[in-house]
């Protein structure tokens, strides 16, 4: 998975090994299907085509992973004391890092990627569900877009569609807010012409509650993925409850 395209290589979109600090602003959106419908790969194709219709240039693939952990306890009655939504997230910009989020407690933690090996060896936590977010990434001038499907690892069962919108020149969330919103308007307008059964839901978690600053970083991305995950689960559950 390369991020190179002509002269656009090193100065941006890379995670220094010593830090989480990122250069750019990113919004993660998930696909909210209309009531009564579900995601399918046709929608994914349409979305990709729409990106190309606004002059997006396909650059390469991307992949992020999200894992639900559950504690390995001898005494299962203690399980209720542990958070149910303990997530581990790997983002492609920082392959050496692994992020943990406990959404209900508004906790985000950055660790070295070897923590996964440690957890395995300690037999402290075990993977409950592991998901991949993968797809293609596109360059649109100073914007970078990623469109991806949400699938469980070792499965092709499409559980959702996500999108990342990144504005590269600045890294302040406040200063870039207007630009991001206008971009999303332009994007939603372009997409609405295709009359798809659903839309992308932008939501912005309250980063301050997680102790994060205005300066965007990979920790912000991890928090966004955790929030998106919660939304995806909620929408899948509502579809299931409708069917029942």
């Amino acid at each position: 998975m390369l991020l190179c395209s002509g002269i656009w290589s090193s100065p941006r979109s890379q995670c220094h090994t010593a830090t989480t600090k990122r250069m750019t602003i990113k919004r993660v959106l998930h696909w909210q299907p209309n009531v009564g419908t579900s995601v399918n790969s046709q929608i994914l194709n349409e979305v990709s085509q729409c990106v190309e219709s606004i002059n997006g240039v396909k650059e390469g693939r991307w992949k992020a992973t999200l894992t639900f952990y559950k504690p390995m306890l001898r005494d299962q009655s203690l399980a209720s004391e542990f958070p149910r939504d303990f997530l581990g997230i790997m983002v492609p910009e920082c392959p050496n890092k692994y992020f943990f989020v406990i959404r209900t407690q508004r906790i985000v933690l950055e660790a070295d990627s070897t923590i996964q090996t440690i957890m395995e060896k300690l037999q402290s936590y075990k993977m409950r569900v592991a998901l991949n977010f993968e797809g293609f990434q596109y360059q649109l001038g100073d914007f970078q877009l990623r469109v991806g499907k949400v699938v469980p690892t070792h499965s092709e069962n499409l559980r959702g569609i996500v999108m990342e919108v990144e504005y590269l020149p600045i890294s302040s969330i406040e200063k870039s807010r207007q630009i991001m919103e206008e971009f999303l308007e332009i994007w939603q307008e372009a997409l609405s012409k295709r009359t798809l059964p659903g839309h992308f839901m932008p939501m912005e978690p309250n980063f301050i509650e997680y102790g994060l600053s205005d300066h965007y970083s990979s920790q912000h991305t991890a928090v966004q993925y955790a929030t998106v995950m919660a939304q995806l689960i909620a929408s899948v559950q509502s579809v299931q409850s409708m069917r029942n």
Binding site: I7, W8, S10, P11, R12, Q14, C15, H16, A18, T19, K21, R22, M23, I54, N55, L140, G141, D142, F143, L168, P169, I170, S171, S172, E174, K175, S176, Q178, I179, E182, F183, I186, D214, H215
Partner: protein, 436 residues
Amino acid sequence: MDMKFQTPTQPQPQPQQQESQALANPNASPDQPPQSTAEAPPKQVALALERLAQAGRLIADVRLGADRLLEALFVAAQPHQSNKPLHLFIKEDAAMRQHLQDLRTIGRQLEGTGVLNEPLRSRSNSWGLHMPLVCPDGAVVAYAWKRQLAGQAGASAVDRTRLALKAFTDQKKRFFPHLDDRVHDQSTEPESKKHCVPQALPASNQEELSDCKTLSDVLMRLEKEVPNLKIFTYERLDWLKRASSLPSLANESPLELLKEHNFHSSSKLRPGLQNTVAADKVAVIELLFPSIFRAIVSLHPVGSIEPDAVAFFSPDEGGNYIHARGSSVYHVFRHITEHAGTALQFFLGIRTETSLYFLLHWICSYQTLFSKVCSKCGQLLAMDKRLALLLPPVSRPYRHFFPTVTSSAQLISSTNEQSSDVVSAYHIGCFSEDAQ
């Protein structure tokens, strides 16, 4: 016995002299008339290059000789040595003197043909590539067309002239669009009126601006008039060091970086400004609006109030390419830089003494880059059809631009009052010269 010794040595110098004269002779004729029509410029250039190559080889020989001398000395310093080091030393000494003599000869030849001369030697960058050319009307043009003339040694004179003219017209169109407009303008405004308006400043404003005679004045005024702005000044080499140390991957938080830099700059300067001792060495001005942009302005000559280049960058960019003639990796800042180059030439053309003050204020109007919508279409972000890029309004008009002060009203007469909110902004496609 003496005679025996002397006679063998006597004839020797003569053949040597004859040899050296013979050596000198083939070189003598090109030496004499560089201005004569006997040697066409391409041949002169080829000869000069050959001599420079010879000089290079001689310099290498000198270096080797120096090494050998040092080696001989080192060996001689060891105990139990024979006369061998002494002979080595004498041999090398003779060889070195010969090399240096040859080098002097070549140097004289190069001087004779005008390749090496005093002005060239006294300039640090002897090819004059950074020196803009000053036209008779006081305007400053970039040097690119001059390079055409120098570079096309192999082509004919006609080709060279044609290429130079083309490069010059391109540069002129790029940097002086208003000159073209005057020739082709069909608008209702009479030409003289259009010419006069930017220059007819109200008398009170001219008085205030005449206070800004030195770099310190300009920067102090700017600091007072524009809040949120951080100004730093540097000598040229210091800026290069700073640019390389700017974090491109943000391995420090921006706050830490600013604190660190303020420390460095304040060691030389008064906090936030420069003291009068360093002001005459200032060659680079950095304007930073944190989280928005960083603009670099270079001054020429050093310590003056004449800007000669400007470039915009992301506040998070770092590296050697961050300088007044550099180019950002981001489209938005690249386009602003291009527009700023035109504005710079305009301000210089109107009035050189106020050009820096106007330019810096105009640069400050970009603090609303990511918040101010286009005055024509009302959008912040728009797809530029020609470039196929989504950009915010990167063009701000400069023609009737007048620096405004949000604080004390006494500085500006009410007719010219604009706040920085009123200074308009346009997308590239929405911007037209007439709309200024």
